[in-house]
Symmetry: C2
Subunit: 204 residues, 2 copies
């Protein structure tokens, strides 16, 4: 399904904005997280093209979606609290903080990004009720990038080519099932997003 | 684990209050629902005794926990809306209405019941954050009564003898897993209750 992962400087030769954004993201990540990011970029590119989303925005959002993932928890908390000390995300499991902290960082650090991209970063882990097309593209790309190897991922890959909503329903359901099996907290927003997809995929 | 199910008039001979409450519940149910109710009464009796809950209150709550289950959806909705037209339960799946409608009915129709019993009826399906002992007894009894035959029920039965919290964590997790598999809406309160049990069972 996906072409081989390439270096941004080769893939985007001559496009200083994309090369700059890729370098901005890479500088804040481990090598492993960068390889995952490259996978999400390729998957988001394919999905955006397939489903009529803005391919450039999808590429940018994919590069920066995990920009805060390798920060310390303290760094994430401080970033979120500086913006809003009462942000309810701070009561959610810390595994979700990176998406919100990353969205705040991207909004400040990369002036050329718009609200769609910021929201795609902010909701890439939990989803939300009423997700936009770009948000769906990045969220699904994060589930199916070539480096993912969980049970059921191939079914999500194959659904993703036809329906982002069905792919998201499968992906979010997989997340909830995994959290149950691993005895971890289930974030309510993940459940609301999954219920919203259920309503869209199986209306009435 | 459970003694054979008996007729309330035999089991509670001479106890007009219990016989009356059993008859009140039975009169509003199908035979199948009544057999389930008798199972929950026996299970709640055993669990209450085992975990130091009020055995009489547990018995009463078990008799009436499904008192509204065989009502029409319209009857449930009308009962809830008459009490509070904006009750958020009316936005939840109708499969949850019977617990709230039943709690309202029991509160009005059976003057001898107290708040603990009403809450045990109200939260017997979804649970809630900060459940009381009687609520846990009835909720677990509903999962493990002798007529239940789902995958994993024996593990819940065996946990229930040692820890209501562990049994509830298993039971609520089973409910969420089933709703995922059956492509049904997951009520957020069920997730909140499960997360609360997770916090209690695996603190820190």
């Amino acid at each position: 399904m996906f072409p081989p992962i390439q270096d941004p400087e080769i893939w985007h030769r001559g496009d200083e904005q994309l090369i700059g954004i890729a370098a901005y993201a890479k500088a804040q990540m481990t090598d492993k997280r960068w390889r995952h990011t490259q996978g999400v970029v390729v998957a988001a590119h394919v999905l955006a093209h397939r489903h009529g989303a803005d391919v450039r925005k999808a590429t940018i959002a994919a590069y920066v979606h995990d920009v805060a993932k390798c920060w310390s928890l303290e760094q994430m908390r401080a970033r979120i609290a500086a913006h809003d000390a009462h942000d309810p995300i701070l009561d959610a499991p810390p595994s979700l903080w990176h998406a919100h902290a990353g969205a705040l960082a991207v909004h400040c650090d990369v002036p050329s990004v718009d609200e769609d991209i910021v929201n795609a970063v902010k909701y890439h882990t939990s989803g939300r009720v009423g997700m936009g097309l770009l948000e769906k593209v990045v969220c699904v790309a994060d589930y199916i990038e070539p480096g993912r190897h969980f049970e059921g991922v191939d079914q999500i890959r194959s659904e993703a080519l036809h329906s982002l909503d069905r792919a998201l329903l499968l992906g979010l359901s997989h997340t909830i099932r995994s959290l149950l099996a691993e005895h971890k907290h289930i974030y309510e927003q993940t459940v609301r997003s999954r219920n919203d997809m259920l309503r869209i995929v199986y209306p009435g």
